[in-house]
């Protein structure tokens, strides 16, 4: 039972991570690539880390005491990803805009002219 | 079963770094090349110490059924690599600060121009 849950979690993680990479290749400009690169990797990594957390908790429950710290440390890695990834994306997007990389196929650009 | 591919990786890394040092004229590129050689040598030391089926030589929360000492990778290369990494950072910082100063004086980073000292 436990292994099945882990399989499912890992499967979802792999799917979204691969999706992120493919999206990175397919999208036309920086901003859309950021959508793929940030959202999907974060989401995929959440599932992969959750698999590790589940595994650690399970082993802990089975009596292997030290495995709890696998869960705790994975959880911290997860939190760190969750906090830093969107911030990094924001930083890149802003830098890209300020360094003159305009969004392609843009319908509207309300920031235009304000990058001073 | 993985022949000597890590060692070959090391040699290729050293080759790439040495290529940069030998053929690239930009001084920062030379620093990049030195960093790559450094990484290659570090990787070499680590690959020397790997033992099949070994775990890290740490006794805290050791996984069960580890044979001691044959079930652990060698610790000395890791210690050497740590020292080597620190030295690499120190050298890199010094080289790049020299580069900044050179640019201040010469207004160029081309090694064919930065040669007041010759003959």
């Amino acid at each position: 039972m436990m292994w099945e849950i882990i399989y499912i979690l890992l499967g979802i993680g792999i799917f979204f991570n691969l999706l992120a990479s493919v999206g990175l290749l397919r999208f036309p400009d920086v901003y859309t690539r950021l959508h793929a690169g940030t959202k999907c990797t974060t989401f995929g990594s959440i599932f992969i880390a959750s698999a590790a957390i589940a595994y650690g908790l399970w082993r802990w429950y089975d009596g292997d005491k030290s495995m709890i710290s696998l869960a705790i440390h994975s959880f911290f890695a997860l939190i760190a990803i969750l906090v830093t990834n969107p911030t990094g994306a924001h930083a890149i997007a802003r830098a890209a805009y300020r360094s003159g990389v305009m969004p392609k196929k843009a319908v509207t650009d309300e920031l235009g002219g304000k990058n001073d | 079963m993985i022949w000597n591919i890590p060692f070959i990786t090391v040699i290729v890394l050293i080759a790439v770094g040495l290529y940069a040092v030998l053929f690239k004229r930009n001084l920062i590129k030379i620093a990049v090349g030195i960093t790559i050689i450094e990484s290659g040598v570090n990787l070499f030391l680590i690959t020397l110490g790997y033992r099949k089926g070994g775990v890290a030589p740490i006794y805290t929360n050791l996984p069960p059924n580890v044979e001691i000492p044959k079930g652990m990778v060698l610790p000395v290369p890791q210690a050497l690599t740590l020292t080597s990494i620190v030295i690499g950072v120190a050298v890199l910082a010094l080289i790049l600060s020299f580069t900044m100063k050179i640019y201040e004086h010469y207004k160029s980073l081309d090694s064919h121009i930065v040669r007041r000292l010759k003959e």
Partner: protein, 514 residues
């Protein structure tokens, strides 16, 4: 606690802790800092003489870092686990050179380096440089050798770039940094190869069980060429004139002995690590060729120079050739029956030349620095008539120039005589080239003396300040002493070094026991 037993560690640790204290003392008071550094350097010299005397009389001193009894290698493992410092005659000999030159340079720097926001760090780096040299010379461990090599090159580069308002200074530092770092990385690669083969890092322990296979050959080549580059053998000497020219004068004097530390590492690799296992004939010939090329190209490049320090730097390259020649002849003859007759003499000549070279080349660079201190130029064309006012400096310069040219009764003559006579037995051409180079050396120093000191009084300058004179005086004193009693020096200091270098078995047994 036996103090003489702990001396190696104290010799390394004391300047180190002084170097770490210097930035803090610098914030308190500048005068105290100068005094502190000088006191440490003098203590270092005294301790070094004590240790060297101990080593010359009692044989090899062993210091195991972190063991419960440092002077024996722990026997619970069959191989040395901890880092072992091994001070034999050669190490002590090199240590004496480094300590003396650093003392002279330290005193010289008091007035030479202007008081500014960098002087505290200057002294820190100078002390660490001393530590780097001593560490390289004392250690019996390959990786430790690499670490101290890096300490030495980093401090050297930082000090070469000390006058960072000159573009050339930074450029010379950059070149030296790249060159020495590449060399050090290949040394590390070679160490890794040896480690992969024997799972050991101790020089003596590796040497004991070494076989001369293809990995060892590659390691040997990398070690020899890297150390040869670091000691400035032609045709890998290009960094030497560049960096010697632009460094502050006292640093240049130390750089000479720093490159000799690399020379020491080269000799240690050839004699103690590989010894007569390897094909010593061909490596000996390679060293002799390096020596001949260095001597000839160095001196011919020196002749037309018009920058006084660059000229002297080329002479440093040229004089390194003598050492390589002498020791190369020794290596060439190692193991043959001729070794005990003239191989030893050649090595005595080469190694005696190391200390002589450090002294007189240091002195010459210091005099060049004194001229620079007053005139603010290194260009020989702008000098002239300095002997009218800078009397002591010109006397020191004459002594140094005569010594380097091998004019009796100064020390250069004694060592060159040994090399000439021993090389003559191997091949007369070697001696002839060596003598020719000596003549050209004299010629180029006549040129310097004529341009800088003779002639009409062109500049209105004063004598150099006292601390500069004291620094130069120390080296002059040593030169005259060695020139007057070369026999005593060779028998009591140089000969133990030569025997220590040539007897690989003693070196191994000191660590491995039996």
């Amino acid at each position: 606690m036996n103090l003489i037993q702990q001396m190696p560690a104290i010799l390394i640790g004391m300047p180190l802790i002084a170097a770490f204290l210097t930035p803090i003392i610098d914030r308190v008071n500048k005068k105290i800092r100068n005094g502190f550094v000088i006191v440490v350097l003098i203590l270092e010299e005294i301790f070094m003489i004590t240790l060297a005397w101990h080593v010359f009389t009692n044989g090899i001193a062993i210091y195991t870092m972190g063991a419960s009894n440092p002077s024996i290698v722990p026997l619970q493992a069959a191989v040395p686990i901890r880092i072992v410092l091994e001070i034999d005659g050669m190490s002590a000999f090199m240590g004496l050179i480094s300590a003396t030159v650093c003392l002279a340079a330290g005193i010289y720097s008091i007035s030479f380096i202007k008081e500014g926001n960098g002087k505290g760090k200057y002294y820190t780096l100078l002390l660490i440089m001393l530590v780097g040299m001593l560490g390289m010379e004392f250690t019996g461990d390959l990786f430790n050798l690499f670490v101290f090599l890096e300490i030495l090159s980093i401090t050297s580069c930082a000090l070469i770039a000390y006058r960072n308002w000159y573009g050339d200074a930074v450029e010379g530092a950059f070149k030296y940094m790249v060159v020495s770092n590449i060399a050090a990385l290949f040394v590390l690669f070679a160490i890794g190869l040896l480690y992969s083969r024997y799972d050991l890092l101790n020089i003596a322990a590796i040497s004991k069980i070494m076989e001369y296979g293809s990995l060892e050959k590659i390691a040997l080549v990398l070690l020899v060429s890297a150390f040869a580059m670091k000691c400035g053998a032609v045709p890998m000497h290009f960094w030497a004139p560049d960096s010697y020219t632009v460094a502050p004068a006292p640093i240049t004097a130390i750089l000479v002995s720093a490159s000799q530390a690399s020379l020491y590492a080269l000799f240690r690799t050839c004699f103690s690590l590989y010894g007569n296992l390897m094909d010593y004939h061909s490596i000996g010939i390679v060293l002799i060729l390096f020596g001949l090329l260095s001597m000839f190209i160095g001196v011919t490049m020196a002749l037309p120079q018009k920058d006084i320090k660059r000229l002297m730097a080329y002479h440093a390259v040229s004089q390194t050739g003598y050492m390589l020649l002498g020791v190369g002849v020794g290596l060439y003859l190692l193991g043959s029956s001729n070794f005990n007759t003239y191989g030893v003499k050649a090595m005595e000549g080469g190694i005696f030349h190391i200390i002589n070279h450090a002294m007189y080349k240091g002195l010459l660079f210091l005099t060049a620095g004194a001229i620079f201190y007053r005139l603010k130029t290194r260009n020989l064309n702008e000098m002239g008539g300095l002997a009218h006012t800078m009397k002591f400096t010109s006397i020191f310069f004459i002594i140094g120039a005569l010594a380097i040219a091998g004019i009796p009764p100064f020390n250069g003559f004694a060592s060159k005589l040994l090399i000439y006579e021993a090389c003559y037995k191997v091949n007369p051409i070697l001696s002839i080239i060596a003598m020719l180079v000596s003549i050209l050396t004299l010629a180029s120093f006549v040129k310097v003396f004529h341009s800088a000191f003779m002639g009409p009084k062109l500049h209105d300058v004063e004598e150099a300040p006292k601390s500069l004179l004291i620094g130069m005086g120390i080296l002059t004193f040593v030169i005259i002493l060695f020139g007057l009693f070369p026999g005593w020096v060779v028998n009591n200091i140089v000969h133990p070094a030569v025997t220590a270098l040539a007897n690989r078995i003693d070196y191994i047994n000191a660590v491995m026991g039996g």
